[in-house]
Amino acid sequence: MIELIDVKKAFNHHRPNEHWAVNGVSLTLEGNRLTVFQGPSGSGKTTLLTLIGCLARPTSGRVRLDGKDVSGFPERFLTEIRRGTFGFVFQQYHLLRGISVLENVMLPGYPAAPRYGTLRRRALELLERFELAHKAHAKVEWLSGGESQRVAIARALINDPAVVIADEPTAHLDTALAKGFLTIAEELRAQGKTLMISSHDPLVCEAPIVDRLVRLRDGRLAESA
């Protein structure tokens, strides 16, 4: 369970160009649910996801993960939490060019240093699951948009995280591929994963698998459906 208590995040704090991307959000997010954060550009969806996923610390307020206040943790501990608890699917996928699909999927596993064979087997299983086993040794720049996203999802799952965070996952996909993503999301939830997605795509926001829709505007909660 993740709790946000009056969370605020400012960029360029105390400078003339100060901007409050998130401005006083309080929320409780249950585990094993699919939550979608909906809102127009600049509403603070992505920033909120970075705070939830321990990618950044709030300027003020508290973020609690399973009852533990993680908002004041030093970077090293946040990294450990991020590595063990969260898997990220970025909007631009951010796969590393020049290395293979398999290496990209294995990357988040390197710091924990499991046995090479174990990590490789886990990565291949994930690629198999997303029907990409035949592309394991291909370079990522040769992949289509849909394939790139599935590689990004496989990478997010390599450390078996409890929470998967996806930022605008259907922004670069056509309808068929967007539906494909929703199918994967449904499977993940069925396996007990918690999913948090930011999107303003109606296909995602209105999908029947969505447990909760959190609407944001100007860094504040508009309403929670």
Partner: protein
């Protein structure tokens, strides 16, 4: 766990280097050249010192010179008898040698009467340097003008072997009669005296006794000469290394600039790695491994190039700076030798400045916020 993690980091560092081979190749080339230049100077100096050591091993243990008003003067024959009374001296002899300036090739020759080699009157044995400079070979006649303007024709009997060329390039061996006539050298006098001491541990003591017995003499020990040669080469090496220090600094700035000037792609990559769970220390370790791998390659390649330059191509680029002290440069092949201490010194003066130069820019890049990839 630690080594497991390092293995993954090394693996990824290798893959990163390969992905940006163009960028790293330039660094590798510059780095290799810096190491090669420094290593050439060090290898060459060490080899020259080794050569001198080997050569002087057969020279007399003590040389006695006579001093008059602080200047080197001729030694009367009677000094040999007086030395003979000093205990510990096994063998003693007077030497005849001097310098001659040959205006034809604008070079100084060292004329010497060899103690254990018979040279016929009117004949000479010359060093390779003289033979090269005069374009002369065995059988040719070498005409030299003495201090009173008289011309002496010398027939070249032999040319000294290249083995000893470091100190024999400008050497000319003549008979005693020719030597005395040519220089108008007074009979009953020598240039200096040489001694052999029965017990090597008594050399200093014998020198002290001689200094007491012959107050106007100056004993010079072989170990002092060896030290002088070593100092001379060290001094020359120091000069060249000081000049090359500028290149090391320039390389440091170049390395700093390259480490600080990470491309947007590399910065994004660091952000992604941190976002997916890599710690700042992992990113720094990764970049240090990249640096270490480049360093190691450059060091090995640079050292290999220097080795080939010095021992296969006779250090062509360094000859005018480091080799010999006569106007006639000696030509010889050095015996290959690698000194581990020297290798460690070279490693310190190349790899450490490089690592120091890249560390701060790397740290600055590695502490980038991981949330940057989400924005």
């Amino acid at each position: 766990m630690f080594w497991g993690r390092q293995r993954y980091l090394i693996d990824f560092a290798l893959s990163s280097l390969w992905r940006r081979k163009g960028r790293h190749l330039l660094l590798l080339v510059v780095y290799t050249l810096v190491v090669a230049a420094l290593a050439s100077v060090m290898l060459f100096t060490e080899a020259l010192k080794g050569e001198a050591r080997q050569l002087l091993a057969g020279t007399p243990e003590v040389v006695i010179q006579r001093m008059v008003a602080g200047r080197h003067d001729l030694v009367p024959e009677q000094y040999l008898e007086r030395i003979g009374r000093v205990r510990g001296v096994r063998k003693k002899a007077g030497r005849l040698w001097g310098y001659y300036y040959d205006p034809t090739v604008a070079a100084n020759y060292t004329l010497m009467v060899p103690p254990e080699r018979h040279i016929a009157e009117g004949s000479v044995v010359v060093g390779e340097g003289i033979a090269r400079a005069r374009g002369a070979s065995v059988g040719d006649v070498l005409a030299l003008r003495s201090s009173v303007g008289e011309v002496f024709p010398f027939r070249i009997d032999a040319i000294l072997s290249a083995e000893s060329e470091l100190v024999s390039a400008d050497l000319m061996l003549v008979s005693e009669v020719d030597f005395r006539r040519f220089f108008h050298f007074p009979a009953g006098h020598y240039t200096d005296l040489v001694l052999e001491v029965a017990n090597p541990r008594e050399v200093r003591k014998v020198a002290e006794k001689i200094a007491l017995a012959l107050p106007d003499s100056r004993p010079i020990l072989r170990e002092e000469i060896l030290r002088t040669y070593a100092s001379l080469f060290d001094w020359r090496e120091g000069l060249v290394l000081t000049a090359l220090l500028g290149a090391v600094f320039a390389f440091g700035i170049f390395a700093w600039d390259r480490a600080a000037g990470l491309s947007a792609e590399e910065r994004r990559e660091i952000g992604v790695l941190k976002a997916v769970g890599w710690e700042t220390s992992d990113v720094i370790a990764l970049k240090l491994w990249e640096g270490a791998l480049v360093s190691l390659c450059a060091f090995l390649l640079g050292y290999l190039l220097a080795y080939l330059h010095v021992f296969t191509f006779s250090a062509g680029a360094l000859t005018p700076l480091l080799k010999g002290w006569a106007v006639l440069y000696p030509q010889f092949t050095l015996a290959p030798q690698v000194d581990l201490f020297q290798l460690a010194t070279l490693f310190l003066i190349t790899v450490v400045p490089y690592t120091a130069a890249i560390l701060i820019p790397l740290w600055q890049a590695a502490v980038a916020d991981p949330d940057a990839v989400m924005r």
